[in-house]
């Protein structure tokens, strides 16, 4: 395990270093000021934000999947991502102060999740994973319809629809990376602390309860803790979907793990995945930049289908 982590961290550092040197501008021909602007003004904050965003998404996905006992749970399939960008757009349309953007994103994101969970439970008492994903994706489509109307009403103030629907790392700042990293660290600390109880939760509510776990309280606490970092990150970047499902589930596909090691590996692999895919997206067709959300969708959906075919995603854990 430790060896695995050390190798993984080395790979991440190498990828990050390579990413600093890759980009549409070639660094050799530039003078020092331009070099500093490109490396420390553009590429380094983007790399940092990509990593912490991926880590936050994968971490929260791993928590959702255990707490909801549903391998398809993630900020996107729970309707949270669409809720968050809608909240972010609402702040602009209602001319509220911009610092409220993360707050509104959290509120709308959690509202979206509650609607999806409530609706899925009513539709299907057996609460199959597919019901949740269909409900979540449909609610997401509805929320993006509302978002589209907002963009139509105030095209001058809101950003382009593509900006919200396909998350992008262009424009990432040190501030975005720092805020996301702090929230992810706090939330990671909380869920790590409850790691043992989460493993018991996996055995089923009745057994967990008989082993001394206050399941209802634990669920609410962990859902709240795991929701906030990705929602805030999404309010900065736009929707980045499915990372929270495929990263933890691929790890589990290769090797069943207890929650704590799964949490750590999910963070590292999630960060590495988004960092890698974003580097590809901004270099492969340079100077045209493919939004990160698009690259993630293109690469994640085949993996998602693979996992479904292997029956990893369609059975309750």
């Amino acid at each position: 395990m430790n060896k695995h982590i050390i190798i993984l961290v080395a790979v991440i550092l190498m990828t990050a270093t390579a990413s600093v040197f890759a980009g549409s501008a070639s660094l050799e021909a530039l003078d020092d000021d331009q070099l500093m602007s490109i490396v420390f003004g553009i590429r380094v904050p983007r790399i940092l934000f990509a990593f912490v965003l991926g880590a936050a998404l994968a971490m929260s996905g791993a928590v959702f999947q255990i707490v909801l006992r549903n391998p398809m749970a993630d900020s996107f399939t729970l309707g949270m991502a669409n809720g968050a960008v809608l909240g972010s757009a609402l702040v602009v349309v209602l001319a509220l102060p911009l610092y409220l953007q993360p707050v509104m994103s959290i509120m709308c994101g959690i509202t979206g999740m509650l609607i999806v969970l409530g609706a899925a439970r009513r539709i299907d008492a057996g609460y199959r994973p597919e019901t949740l994903i269909i409900t979540g994706v449909l609610l997401g489509a509805m929320l993006s319809g509302i978002l589209y109307i907002l963009v139509l009403i105030q095209p001058d103030k809101t950003e382009s629809i593509a900006r919200y629907m396909f998350g992008s790392m262009a424009g990432a700042t040190y501030g975005d990376a720092l805020v996301t990293a702090v929230l992810a660290a706090v939330s990671g600390g909380i869920v790590h602390k409850y790691g043992r109880q989460l493993d018991l939760l996996n055995l089923g509510d009745a057994r967990a309860f008989s082993l001394g776990v206050n399941t209802a309280r634990l669920r609410v606490l962990l859902l709240a803790a795991a929701s906030i970092p990705p929602l805030v990150a999404i309010s900065f970047s736009g929707i980045i979907a499915l990372v929270g499902i495929i990263v933890p589930q691929m790890i589990l596909y290769f090797k069943p793990l207890l929650f704590r090691p799964l949490l750590i590996l999910s963070c590292l692999y999630g960060g590495l995945y988004v960092l890698f895919i974003d580097t590809i997206g901004r270099t492969i067709m340079a100077p045209v930049q493919i939004p990160t959300g698009v690259m993630v969708m293109i690469s994640a959906v085949p993996l998602f289908i693979f996992l479904m075919q292997k029956r990893v995603l369609t059975h309750r854990q």
Partner: protein, 284 residues
């Protein structure tokens, strides 16, 4: 009896007039589907014949202030509304031709209107060509030549005034991050700016490419010519919020030119005015 006959003839005239107002003589009814076309039509003295313009049209003032003039949404063109205007002439544009061709064919069949598609202007010469095209469509070729020579005179003055200045390299700012669009080579704005001795840092790319912030840093423009229609403060914020641009020449508000996009992006007679504003900002 004669009186009776007279009344009948009069009534018949009224009926005929009511049935076909468009075909009876004076009624040239023009619908313009592009703001730049509207500006050219107005400049040719045909603005009173306009019976429909787009929702984006805001010039000349007589068009902008005319609350009764029907407006069409070019992006969601309403076929019934267009037919209801009973146009005799529809002036469309190459940029939206793909979207509208079939619809306009049907409208033309129903109303008998003649449809002309103005070709996209890729340089100043292209504006002259558009004016000639519209002029011959309405058989006012002489007026068209008059308008063209007016523009050519203004542009010639500008060129003379600024040709001694040192060439400045500009970044044409069309939209904000994360999708920063600019105008590359072979575009109308690229050619227009060359008239005031302003170069384009992205002239090696064709059309309207999306570029990254690092491409802008790499090309290190002297000035930023924004046609986003922001106010000066918002433009300053937009530049300072774009990662990587903070230390560059264009981060200095002195080097940020905020030009009314209607003047500089519409291939229309006011281009000389737009370039004058741009030149004053760049060199003063």
């Amino acid at each position: 009896m004669d009186r009776m006959k007279g009344m009948l003839v009069f009534a018949a005239f009224l009926l005929m007039a009511a049935c076909s107002p468009a075909e009876e003589g004076e009624g040239t009814r023009i619908v313009s589907l592009m703001p730049s076309n509207t500006e050219i039509i107005a400049e040719l003295g045909l603005e009173d014949e306009l019976v429909g313009v787009t929702t984006e049209d805001d010039y000349p003032e007589s068009v902008a202030d005319d609350g009764d003039l029907p407006r069409l949404d070019t992006f969601e063109l309403d076929e019934e509304q267009l037919i209801g205007l009973e146009p005799t002439h529809i002036v469309a544009h190459e940029a939206s031709a793909g979207m509208h061709r079939e619809l306009l064919d049907r409208v033309s069949e129903t109303t008998g209107a003649e449809v002309m598609t103005v070709e996209e202007a890729r340089d100043i010469e292209g504006i002259y060509e558009s004016i000639r095209q519209i002029g011959s469509f309405f058989s006012v070729e002489k007026d068209a030549e008059g308008v063209i020579s007016g523009i050519a005179r203004d542009l010639g003055d500008l060129k003379g005034q600024y040709s001694a200045e040192e060439t400045r390299a500009a970044f044409i700012h069309i939209s904000d991050q994360p999708e920063i669009y600019t105008a590359g080579g072979g575009t109308f704005m690229d050619d227009a700016l060359s008239w005031i001795n302003v170069g384009n840092v992205f002239d090696d790319m064709e059309g309207y490419p999306a570029v990254s912030a690092e491409d802008i840093v790499e090309r290190n423009p002297d000035v930023l010519v924004s046609v986003m229609g922001l106010d000066d403060d918002a433009l300053g914020r937009s530049v300072s919020d774009t990662p990587g641009l903070q230390g560059m020449a264009i981060s200095d508000p002195e080097n940020q030119c905020n030009i009314n996009p209607d003047l500089l992006t519409r291939p229309a007679p006011r281009i000389a005015e737009g370039l004058r504003q741009a030149a004053e900002c760049v060199y003063e």
